[in-house]
């Protein structure tokens, strides 16, 4: 049913050569699904304390709705489990197992469903280290996916990273490409603190350079995606698909943008950001989450606070409308920022 737009069933998904659970024959481009699947396989192989659970994630249930956990349960048996629909229950189970040394990787099928288990994430996972005076800690990873553009409507598309960034004790990682996905997920699993790892549906099927198996990317470090001298454009997750074409277009006019992929949203790599903005004197932040009270606000205020005298223009934020994610495609498009808006914002900093 190629005409049915659906998870795992897009043209892009067919284009990419997904090779679940096995090493690539050659370093051909792979997609995020492939690289995250490798990361889970490699992490489970490397550390017997890594366990994986969530709805539908074992092989009899299909290995996850986009097959990111494919092959794991077949290989690692009881360490990999599909759960009942009980996010509070299994999120708490991850907290408990982590407290005694396991490294659970749990999947919340779509990000909006964190709303049924916020308590275990924000009141427990994020706080037990502090409240126990450091006697316990919670080395777990919560993987989840989200994003507009699939007509999934108001309860299946939100980016809620700002809620968790405002919750001290948890880290937030949002990869934008397959190689980063692999390296960041490996580091997130190794990390001694709880990590929320947010994947974007739109990024799953975009081919990218294959990760080097075993190569971990440190958390908390941004990546300079493109050096430039005129304006700093900061993105993460899906916006890293939108920024490059706009920036390349402007480059043809001689506007030289420096593009930074945050990769980790909390803690943010302020060194890299401020070094760049100090140089360019201008900054634009781009995220899919709705604009107000989003990650862009924190980043904007930190840049203004640190570089007020050096800034040549106020920091621009490019983000989605302050409304629930609508269903109909033209409204979904109206919800999300456009390339034209992004271009206009960059130009505005130069005006």
């Amino acid at each position: 049913m190629s005409e049915v737009k659906n998870f795992g069933d897009t043209e892009a998904s067919k284009a990419a050569d997904v090779n679940l659970g096995d090493a690539p024959k050659k370093a051909a481009p792979v997609n995020m699904i492939q690289s995250l699947n490798w990361a889970l396989h490699d992490a489970m192989e490397a550390d017997a304390n890594v366990i994986v659970f969530g709805e539908e994630i074992a092989d009899p249930e299909g290995g996850g709705i986009v097959k990111i956990s494919s092959g794991l349960s077949t290989k690692y048996g009881n360490r990999v489990r599909s759960t009942p629909i009980s996010e509070m229950g299994f999120m708490g189970a991850a907290v408990g197992a982590a407290v005694v040394g396991f490294k659970p990787v749990v999947e919340i099928m779509l990000m909006n469903f964190v709303a049924v288990c916020m308590d275990q994430i924000t009141n427990h996972a994020a706080k037990l280290r502090f409240m126990s005076g450091g006697q316990t800690h919670v080395p777990m990873v919560i993987r989840t996916m989200t994003g507009s553009g699939f007509q999934n409507g108001g309860q299946h598309s939100d980016f809620l990273e700002a809620w968790f960034c405002h919750t001290p004790g948890i880290k937030v990682v949002m990869p934008s490409n397959p190689a980063d996905g692999y390296g960041l997920l490996r580091s997130a699993i190794d990390d001694e603190d709880p990590v929320l790892f947010i994947e974007h549906l739109n990024n799953y099927w975009t081919p990218g350079a294959a990760p080097e198996r075993g190569k971990k990317i440190p958390l908390g470090k941004a990546r300079i995606h493109r050096p430039g001298k005129d304006v700093t454009v900061i993105g993460y997750s899906r916006s890293m698909l939108d920024i490059p074409p706009v920036v390349e277009k402007l480059a043809k006019e001689g506007i030289d943008c420096e593009v930074i992929d945050l990769r980790t949203v909390q803690p943010m790599d302020m060194d890299t950001i401020l070094t760049s903005v100090k140089k360019t004197g201008r900054a634009v932040i781009v995220h899919e989450a709705c604009r107000s009270f989003g990650v862009g606000a924190e980043l904007s205020s930190r840049i203004h606070e640190a570089l007020f005298r050096e800034l040549k223009a106020p920091v621009e934020r490019v983000a989605s409308e302050d409304c629930p994610v609508p269903y109909a495609p033209p409204l979904e498009a109206a919800y999300l920022y456009t390339h034209a808006e992004l271009e206009a914002s960059i130009r505005k900093t130069l005006a």
Binding site: G62, I65, I85, S86, G153, D322, P326, Y327, L331
Partner: protein, 326 residues
């Protein structure tokens, strides 16, 4: 449970609702396969009997709450097919102006109050609708639909307990199609019969064959009478099957072949049609006429949906709050 046989008119009304649901579903899937419609669509093909046998006993005043897999519930309760189709197609003429889609169908004038995409969330909301009727001294009942998988989430427990403590006129209808996405019943649910969980709330729990209209009719009858009499909530578990997987595109590899084949044999739709004719509640010609009128309804609905306009981009500013945002 004492079984009464509804009269022929009611039995045929049930058939009519089932036909409406089945034809609409077949046609939606056809439109998707033909590329005329694109959406995440959760077919309820196979579950037609449950809302049909319940809704013939409800009025427009009664409230309904359902889930992403709820087109059948909505149609049985009275959501006009045109408005459904236009909503699925994301058109401004849809019941939700194209803002909600299949997971958020709403149509208050027929009592179709809320459709939720979050598993379990229909039940607490149903308690509030029941509370409203109770406080106003109305005899309305509220029907809350949900799946077997949903019986394992916290909202189920909190809602049944709250409804029991407050004696709310709510009927909790678990449409047990034996799978939650790709997870087989027993991998998620620790008890053999979900209906037995009613005992935890000192509430009647009725376990019925969800493919048997008479059985569903009788369970609902009892529950509705109890609710209207102010005696409180009931849990009904209606066992059924969904033939088109979790979501269109689901190939069903996780369903053992013999189970699928048995389900096909138990498909309520053809069986019920035959039974009606064999037992002389209607002639084949009567039913053909119903089928034809429903085919026409769906033709009109599809044409309406296809010819309607998409919502304007400015709609993202509307309905966020009572006042349009700037």
């Amino acid at each position: 449970m004492s079984m009464t046989q509804p009269d022929s008119k009611t039995l045929v009304d049930i058939y009519q609702k089932m036909t409406l649901i089945k034809h609409s579903d077949d046609r939606v899937i056809g439109a998707m396969k033909a590329g005329r419609m694109v959406m995440p669509y959760y077919s309820a093909r196979g579950q037609e009997c449950i809302p049909s046998a319940i809704s013939v006993q409800l009025t427009d005043e009664d409230y309904l709450v359902t889930i992403y897999r709820g087109v059948h519930d909505m149609l049985a309760k009275g959501l006009p097919p045109k408005l459904l189709w236009a909503e699925l197609a994301g058109k401004v003429t849809g019941s939700c102006k194209g803002k909600g889609g299949p997971m958020h169908l709403t149509y208050p004038s027929k009592g179709c109050m809320v459709t939720t995409g979050v598993v379990g969330a229909s039940m607490p909301i149903a308690c509030g609708l029941g509370l409203a009727a109770q406080l106003r001294g109305e005899s309305r009942v509220t029907v809350a639909n949900f799946g077997d998988g949903a019986s394992n989430i916290g909202a189920f427990h909190e809602s049944l307990n709250l409804a029991a403590v407050w004696k709310l006129p709510v009927i909790f209808v678990c449409q047990n199609n034996r799978y939650a996405e790709h997870t087989a019943y027993s991998k998620g649910t620790s008890v053999e019969r979900i209906a037995d969980r009613a005992a935890s709330y000192n509430m009647p729990g009725l376990h019925v064959d969800g493919n048997d209209p008479i059985a569903v009719y009788n369970a609902a009858k009892q529950a509705i009478a109890r609710a209207r009499a102010g005696e409180g909530p009931t849990l009904i578990e209606a066992v059924t099957f969904r033939f088109n997987g979790h979501l269109i595109g689901d190939a069903g590899e996780y369903i053992p072949k013999p189970e699928y084949e048995r389900a096909v044999k138990d498909d309520p739709y053809p069986r019920y049609r035959n039974w009606l004719v064999e037992n002389k509640h209607a002639t084949a010609a009567d039913l053909d006429a119903i089928d034809a009128s429903i085919k026409q309804l769906i033709d009109e609905a599809e044409a309406f949906a296809m010819s309607s306009a998409a919502p304007d981009a400015s709609e993202v500013k509307r309905d966020v709050y009572a006042t349009e945002i700037a």
